[in-house]
Symmetry: C2
Subunit: 174 residues, 2 copies
Amino acid sequence: MQNNETMDATQNHTQLFVKMAVDYWQGQNVRVDKLIDTLTDEQMMAETATGRNRGIYLLGHLAAVNDGLHTIMGWGERLHPELDEPFLKNADNTGHTYPTLAELKAYWHTINAELNKHISAMQPEQWFERHMSVSPEDFVKEPHRNKLNVLIGRTIHQSYHLGQLNYLNPRKVD
Amino acid sequence: MQNNETMDATQNHTQLFVKMAVDYWQGQNVRVDKLIDTLTDEQMMAETATGRNRGIYLLGHLAAVNDGLHTIMGWGERLHPELDEPFLKNADNTGHTYPTLAELKAYWHTINAELNKHISAMQPEQWFERHMSVSPEDFVKEPHRNKLNVLIGRTIHQSYHLGQLNYLNPRKVD
């Protein structure tokens, strides 16, 4: 009975921290959704600060990173691998042709909708499996390199750029 | 035996998840450490973007937020409650007297050293206890409002402002 109670408690923990991590992930994405809904095209085409990445670049960058989750999580093919070259491998204003803002926003929403389908289908235990960029051998030694860890890392990364994107908002936001 | 194996797996998850969250937390703090070591006082006194928070303000803000963890985690008294008024309750440039940059950096390091002592002393299970801003009654209904959740949220918050602070760095950083 003691063992079962402990087991219930720890299984409960597994579900809880998956919920915590997924809630933060989805919450950050919703913050980006709201911001890009608010900003005009002119604002999105502006630099977030003098000489720094433009809104359009950061949106493309975040869309490419989110899309990359399909691969690293083992969820199947990416929807927009063509975003890598302009938005991951290269900096802003390096002569690449970008999709229009309307296209990028549509990609952003489609990618996230697809990700959410996979997230909904995950059992808590599956989040603790290795991600696709770590070998089975390394994973034995470093079991923290699991799928949930990737999701948390991507959430933190997204917040980093959200802080910059918010500078496009003329309303005083921190 | 099956039960024990499952129990081991889920206890292992608890430890793993705590490690993941703590690693990200400490990693973000180290990134801030490195940045404020790199920037000159002149750079720290500048706005991160035109009309936006200055470096000194964001450092004070992050120090105050970190210090507040002592209270919300139930780890004892804050070291610098005087930071709340200028850096949490008020915006930048609202007529408050700020500590010097040297003082703020010293506070930042002292606060984090103290936090790390508490973090090191925490057992994995303790991270799943309620934080001090949620009542025991609400915690029963919302068990995700635990201490680990606070730490993850603060990590995401810190990254948000790190993205902005990095704009003080004249080297091209994303």
